[in-house]
Symmetry: C2
DNA sequence: GTCTGGCACTCGCAGTGGTTGAGTGCCAGG
DNA sequence: CCTGGCACTCAACCACTGCGAGTGCCAGAC
């Protein structure tokens, strides 16, 4: 096991490196941090830390930089989450409160996160599967053509065309609409299937086919991954990435365009608390030199979607984690209110 | 006026520079293009072209590169639009045909454009203002709270909350819904205001306030710039920009995040035909080293929105223009069909 | 007039070599 | 176990140089 001081040395290295973006040497360390020991001692500690794989040298006669493993230890054991200051909190709240609809909430969240963390922000749209139905609307567009509109408690609207096997009268539409709503309004998506199971029985034989079609379309909509949309922003922050630009940035931009990749990335994060994936911990190759800080957010107590940021492994973890957590919290509030 | 040969020299310079990304000298020019004259002659022509501001030298003893003015002349007079080949066309069609809804059409278009041109693609969502209303839906969420849902012929759905000045009964909601639809369904957005003007008169005095509120919300939704959304993609192609990376790319990324900027950019393009804005012709500073190739597209004969690409001024104009035009054409078809 | 070959000149670029200094590892002594 | 000292390493920096692509200009040919 590493001694207390060695951990402190590691912490100091991470902090300095994050600040200066330059390999940090033993002398500079003792000067900037009151470790109470001489550079020589620090050198020994560094050698030990390198031995264990927490830090590395870019080349001989250069200082040390943390490895992914080093950052991992730092995040897990050496650093907490830096809470936002009062003014920051108020700014967040103000910024989000002006939103007029769901798209706007997500758009503002992305901007906010990108600005606060000065990194690339990724926000997943609130997922349908964990939220509740606010209203189901059924419109007759043509005798055998309906439009199904689903409105969720997060303000999301999904619409689907339904081609009926047989003509379906206006009264039947109204009837079905009323029955549907009385059963599912306010209910969680996951409960809907059992709630509507016996609905066709209430209708005339000739209409049952259509009712079933509508119901299956509704159920499809509920589980559809389609809702797994996300928005990203702050890509301009990638330019602060490092010196060895194009090679680092290219795969990241590519990964960011693959929504599937990002969704998987966010999906892997645990539901509660801030999740940090560092460098090679990310499955996707293009993101091997980035860290992803993500967290779930939701309108009620539980998470309905994830949001997070993507940045260089050399990032201010406590600050980023704090910002991500705070934003998630306030977005949750906003969603609950609307 | 410039002689025919000098124009050919300019064309050759543009083509070579676009191909090699390196300043092109007189000797290399005569070798690669059968101009039928010696390097010395070309040098004289180059001097003349430089005098007129069509080309420039990065530094003494280097070759020439085209200026914005040079590209402009090239695009206007020296190069046509390169039509897509048969296989390319089929590929475009195949790729777009699989789309399931409007979002998907736009998303696919962006990907396609980015891939074809190897540049950043920007696609504006079909604008509401020129399309027609398919259906208006009104839902009662609470006694004095309505939700207004607008469905367009392009498959777009917009929803708005309406807070009523007074409680509004279910029957009144149904009545308003029916009257609204009978008046505006199938109509063009621009006609809606006059069509609903006298609607409040048909209601009881106590309900008129609410009806007016609903109507004004509807009209707002129709003109809202909010619908002026767009999607961008292919940002990874920015890495092919040039050598002097971070400085060039940063402002571009920033500009791309400002949807307002992009919308204005696209808006400036003329409705018919491919528009090319080169370098400093773009109002936005960050885009001074990029060119924007854009074109209108639409479901009927007329344009309902724009799409285009953003790339370095040093781009393959004929090819890019061809790709942009072809994609616009096919997207229009797809939209008309659905 | 227009084109051409020749020639002197410019200047960025790549390669060389020397110097500097931050940083290291190791060791002997407190 | 810590410390100061010491020799060593090596990237980064700088000045210098030679090379060559490219230019402008001019005198002569067609």
């Amino acid at each position: 096991m590493l001694s207390e001081r060695r951990l402190q040395v590691l912490r100091a290295i991470v902090q300095d490196y994050v600040g200066t973006e330059e390999p940090v040497g033993s002398k500079a360390l003792t000067e900037r941090h009151a470790l109470g020991v001489s550079p020589a001692t620090v050198r020994n500690d560094m050698a030990a830390l390198e031995e264990e794989g927490f830090i590395a040298q870019p080349h001989t006669s250069a200082g040390r930089i943390p490895t992914d493993k080093g950052y991992r230890l730092f995040v897990d054991k050496l650093a907490g989450v830096k809470p936002m200051t009062g003014p920051e909190r108020r700014a967040i709240q103000n910024f989000l409160e002006g939103a007029v609809d769901l798209d706007d909430v997500v758009a503002r969240t992305v901007r906010l996160l990108a600005q606060l963390t000065r990194q690339v922000a990724v926000v997943q749209y609130p997922s349908l599967t964990r939220s509740t139905v606010r209203h189901v609307e059924l419109l007759s567009l043509a005798p055998a053509r309906l439009m199904l509109v689903l409105i969720t408690d997060t303000g999301r609207v999904e619409q689907r065309m339904v081609d009926c096997p047989a003509p379906f009268g206006e009264t039947a539409v109204a009837d079905l609409r009323a029955r549907l709503n009385s059963r599912v309004a306010g209910r969680r998506f996951t409960d809907v299937p059992t709630l509507v199971e016996d609905l066709p029985d209430a209708f005339e034989a000739e209409d049952r086919g259509t009712v079933s079609t509508v119901l299956s379309t509704l159920l499809e909509t509920l589980v559809e991954e389609n809702e797994e949309r996300l928005m990203i922003g702050g890509t301009a922050n990638l330019t602060r990435f490092g010196h060895d630009f194009p090679l680092t940035i290219r795969p990241v931009l590519e990964a960011l365009e693959e929504q599937v990749v990002l969704l998987k990335l966010l999906g892997e994060a645990k539901d509660a608390g801030v999740t940090v994936r560092i460098g090679h911990e990310n499955a996707h190759e293009g993101l091997n030199s980035t860290s992803v800080v993500s967290v779930g957010y939701g309108s009620g107590g539980e998470a309905v979607a994830k949001l997070g940021v993507v940045g260089p492994t050399r990032m201010d973890y406590p600050g980023t984690m704090g910002a991500v957590r705070a934003v998630a919290r306030y977005v949750g509030q906003i969603l609950a209110e609307s």
